[in-house]
């Protein structure tokens, strides 16, 4: 009989792979701890592939004027597509554009798309998202009891506070920090 922790990890792995849980049940003997590690490796592998799968929408996001991109993002795109597109934009170094778009989105929509973001871009989001907006997103995630996603933000924020290395694969912005990082010790700029 599978213990609850292992069952939960199997369910989360199946969700990540977009299959029914019975397709991954053969992994149960690995146990919860190893499954959690496998899920992390799997997520990293998939997020490496998503920019290719979503290249059309990422290209549109790059080319469209912001006055069109923002209403298009808020009214048309499902959260999954928007989350993947923002991740793709950030991963290809277009943080200015991503920041401009994110700043126009309400916290509720950002909470909708947060589960679909590449965890590797969360540190960059701390740089480019206004603190009050980010706080609104985390509050919204907590209200929805989506602790897994809220935890992603908390873990990266803690790493930033303690001087931990940012997640790999994300081009660092050379511009002035604007998000929560602006408030961190040693990161303040200006008077």
């Amino acid at each position: 009989m599978t213990d609850p922790a292992t069952e939960r990890q199997l369910r989360r792995l199946a969700e990540l792979l977009h299959v029914d849980v019975d397709r991954v049940e053969f992994l149960a003997p690995l146990g919860a701890r190893e499954l959690a590690v496998l899920r992390e490796h799997t997520a990293r592998d998939l997020h490496r592939r998503y920019p290719r799968a979503y290249r059309r929408i990422i290209r549109m996001g790059r080319l469209a004027p912001m006055r069109l991109a923002a209403p298009f993002a808020t009214r048309v795109l499902p959260p999954r597509m928007l989350g993947r597109a923002i991740s793709g934009g950030v991963l290809t170094g277009r943080t200015e554009r991503a920041a401009a778009l994110i700043g126009r989105l309400p916290p509720e929509l950002l909470a909708d798309l947060a589960p679909y973001l590449d965890p590797a871009i969360i540190t960059t989001l701390l740089d480019i998202t206004p603190p009050e907006l980010l706080g609104g997103v985390v509050n919204e995630l907590m209200a929805r009891e989506d602790y897994d996603t809220a935890d992603l933000f908390a873990a990266q924020f803690t790493a930033a506070l303690t001087g931990g290395a940012p997640a790999p694969g994300v081009p660092r912005s050379a511009e002035r920090p604007r998000g929560l990082r602006r408030l961190l010790p040693g990161r303040r700029t200006g008077a």
Partner: protein, 76 residues
């Protein structure tokens, strides 16, 4: 200088990971998981497209045309 042989399984190499516990899986099970990995991005994209198609009828005409442009063309 001799190189250390790579003891990792095909699944570990595919994931770019070093997770010895995966070595207890039979090769057929590893291949099964790699197949799930291979199809996952396409399934995600298909789910996103289905979500977008559900929204299309509720959009104003201009936005609907723009949204349709983000979808892949259907093959005849």
């Amino acid at each position: 200088m001799s190189e250390t042989p790579d003891e990792r399984t095909p699944l570990e190499r595919r994931l770019g990971a070093d997770q010895p516990a995966l070595r207890q899986l039979e090769p057929s099970r590893q291949a099964e998981f790699i197949a799930l990995l291979d199809g996952a991005a396409d399934r995600d994209r298909a789910a996103a497209e289905a979500e977008l198609r559900e929204r299309l009828p509720h959009l104003p005409r201009g936005l609907r045309l723009l949204a349709t442009a983000t979808l892949p063309r259907r093959r005849r």
